[in-house]
Symmetry: C2
Subunit: 308 residues, 2 copies
Amino acid sequence: MTASNTLSGVFTPVVTPFKADLSVDAERFLALCRWLLSQGAGLAVFGTNSEANSLSLRERLSLLDYLVDHGIDPRRMMPGTGCCSLEETVQLTNLALRRGCGGVLMLPPFFYKGVSDDGLFDFYARVIDRVASSDLRVYLYHIPQVSGVPISYGLIERLLKAYAGVVVGLKDSSGDWANTEGMLKRFPGFAVFPASESLLERALPLGAAGCISATANIQPGPIARLIEQFGTAGSEQRQAGVSAVRSVLQAFLMIPALKAVIAARSDDDAWMPVRPPLTGLTSAQAQDLLARLAALDFEMPQWKREPA
Amino acid sequence: MTASNTLSGVFTPVVTPFKADLSVDAERFLALCRWLLSQGAGLAVFGTNSEANSLSLRERLSLLDYLVDHGIDPRRMMPGTGCCSLEETVQLTNLALRRGCGGVLMLPPFFYKGVSDDGLFDFYARVIDRVASSDLRVYLYHIPQVSGVPISYGLIERLLKAYAGVVVGLKDSSGDWANTEGMLKRFPGFAVFPASESLLERALPLGAAGCISATANIQPGPIARLIEQFGTAGSEQRQAGVSAVRSVLQAFLMIPALKAVIAARSDDDAWMPVRPPLTGLTSAQAQDLLARLAALDFEMPQWKREPA
């Protein structure tokens, strides 16, 4: 089990809606965040599936302020704050802390490849030292197939030793169960979140904190219930249900696929745009996706934008 | 041969000096830029070897202003302006243009991997359309082993068709001669810069515009002379000389190695710091490096900081 001052449950790397001119659509973003919270999911805004690195620093700072200013509970937020530069990582992390976020999810600097654990330790250490707050809760972000910069067990060990109580967890997006299992066994009390709800049946018994999953954008409630009621009657069925939806989405480009589902279920095509270098689904792909979900009896609850 | 309104010769991805607290040392940076220009090299500031992505946007903007404000000739500058976000890429490119830079070297957005040429074309097109100036000269930056996002022949073809006279060249850091050769043959008039002076003897006869090389930080004059006097008596010897220096440097981590050489030759250890995730050379490595260069009779001309 994880320490009481860490986050747990299902967190959503909330997709970021864009207007036709590709500017951020803060109002729709807020509406989705409110709905996700109402379904029992926390908000890992500014993740990979949020197109966070396609947002400028300025956009991320102002969007985080906007959410909290409009009543989103920061204690259920774990915004992504890891940038390639120290200064920008510190700036974003400072804002998250000042606004009361429960934690931050921190990518390693991801431009240079083949960097040493010494260099990565130094980066994280300097960020933490500059932020200089015992309220800080850092979740490391291991997504080597995208970042190109893995978080090794050795690095975790050093950070846990140097920053106990501050470096408290990790999102494992590697999709490599052996890696997730190894971390869960090696670092008891460390809040490990696999990136897929499909792994919950194996991860929760080993003490996983929950999951941070792209598809929580469209099935937050079912994942939340699976976690809350894990091990009780119907658990296997709940696992099978969320895993089936996950499998359908994984057959498509994840980010435009999530936006296509949200657009369809909220009757609002304004959800569709993605920023380059990503591209949208073709309408044939979107139709195929929706048909496959319908075949599962998947129904995403309707929700409407409320005035901000 | 390249069109007359494009840059040519040797360009230096100028290393960026940092103070002990890792803030940018603008004064030393200016001194190095002045010396490089005096040796006949242009300035590809904010490149991979400049630790550009370890600088914040704010730092890059203010450093570019600082150089031009202090008399650096912008027509000999090709700053790196490619960021993961559209907005930041446009902002940096706009400043470069406003300050009169001869061109910009533009990384593709480098967080997402496996993106399509459609997505990359859309990114570059939107940047160019937003900057909206016929004075813009874009050099694409192909460095797949670091960025993880290659620039394909197909993408170049589409950009040349859509933005003739604006997309004018490319830095090829792949180290793959077959790729460089293919581009030189396929796109006549396109200003291709290999990333190593060692390739000049093969690239110049095929019409390469010059090179943009890390080691131009320490041997700008010899590379400039090799290009200017290419094909005249002594050319082979000049090529062998610069290639030998390049080979020595390549046996070490390039960025801290360049800083160690500059520190040694300017009697100024303040050149040594790198930003994490990079790490410095050990003193044994630095001594080994300097000994190997000394064995080549390599001498980097002394230069001293002038008051800013």
